[in-house]
């Protein structure tokens, strides 16, 4: 399950989210978007390690990150 969804057309690769992540799961990669900005990436493996704290999304100046969490049904 993807806990972190990055909107590739909004991301500008500033890296503020990578710095804010307490587990350092995000990094600025080499893939570029249409505007020519490098995109922030998170591997599928790291998606599982994510604790959905949403600190990355709160510091993102471009509101490019959506955060989800798994909720176990009772």
């Amino acid at each position: 399950m993807k806990k972190i969804v990055i909107d590739e057309e909004f991301c500008k690769g500033c890296g503020l989210c990578a710095e804010a992540c307490p587990k350092k799961l995000l990094s600025v990669g080499k893939k570029l978007n249409k505007q020519g900005y490098p995109l922030v990436e998170i591997s599928d493996e790291d998606q599982d390690k994510c604790v959905s704290c949403a600190l990355c999304a709160r510091v993102c100046p471009d509101v490019a990150i959506r955060v989800y969490r798994q909720k176990k049904a009772q």
């Binding site: 500008k12 509101v63 955060v67 989800y68 909720k71 049904a73």
Partner: protein
């Protein structure tokens, strides 16, 4: 066991799904989101009127799904006064930078605050004129190099940076004045609460509310996004301390 997916963080409804024109690492986007969240929180999208200013935030109407009036340079508080008096039930906010609010619009902001107009002012202080290419602003720090102060701001010639949050707090008509920053997740949360409070004071008809936000301008500071973000607490907060300078809803 069944597992459902629950959203933790999503885009505020008032913020249009449009990529902004701001540079990578610019703090304007965070402040836009916090303002949008405040409007969502109070459910006043249909009666909110934003007043756009001149500066990097001039395209406010492109990003907010509300009515926006574009004011002449520096005159957003004067335009806001008119809008609010004609439509007293509307929620009016101005969104201004330091070139707009602290330089050309000093008279308008001081008199609007002093009259106690029922509106909310969001002021983004990034110590430079962003849109025109990084010239010296009234808020430029002593010694800071800009395109018009290539040897650093000399306070003997160019004077001192203006502390707007303290200045506005001194006026009788002001209901709320505070300075916040958005350089760490914790401060973003606090800034969000402060902006919500500033909108709440208007909706509750308690008084004029002013929020100064310290922002980064990586492009015009000649820094990377991370360096510029670090400068906010490293250099700016020494001269521009964070805090609430006036709040008439809290008795001393």
């Amino acid at each position: 066991m069944a597992v459902s997916v629950q959203p933790v963080f999503e885009r505020p409804k008032v913020l249009k799904t449009t990529a902004t024109h701001y540079c990578a690492g610019c703090h304007h986007g965070i402040v836009h989101r916090l303002v949008a969240e405040a409007i969502d929180h109070f459910g006043v999208q249909d009666r909110t009127i934003g007043i756009g200013s001149v500066g990097c935030s001039v395209l406010l109407y492109e990003y907010f799904d509300i009515d926006v009036v574009e004011a002449p340079h520096g005159r957003a508080p004067a335009v806001g006064t008119g809008v609010k008096r004609v439509h007293p039930d509307s929620v009016v906010f101005t969104y201004q930078g330091d070139g707009d609010l602290a330089a050309i619009g000093t008279a308008e902001i001081i008199h609007a605050a002093n009259r106690g107009e029922l509106m909310t002012v969001i002021f983004l202080n990034n110590t430079t004129y962003g849109m025109t290419g990084g010239q010296m602003a009234p808020t430029t720090l002593p010694g800071q190099v800009t395109t018009t102060s290539p040897y650093g701001r000399d306070v003997k010639v160019e004077g001192y940076p203006i502390r707007m949050a303290e200045l506005i707090a001194m006026l009788g008509g002001t209901g709320f004045s505070a300075r916040v920053a958005v350089d760490t997740p914790q401060r973003v949360l606090e800034a969000g609460k402060t902006i919500r409070k500033a909108f709440g004071m208007q909706i509750e008809k308690q008084g004029f509310a002013f929020v100064e936000v310290l922002g980064a301008c990586p492009t015009n500071w000649g820094m990377s996004a991370l360096e510029a973000n670090a400068r906010v607490s490293g250099e700016m907060m020494g001269y521009f301390p964070l805090g609430v300078y006036k709040d008439i809803t809290v008795s001393a």
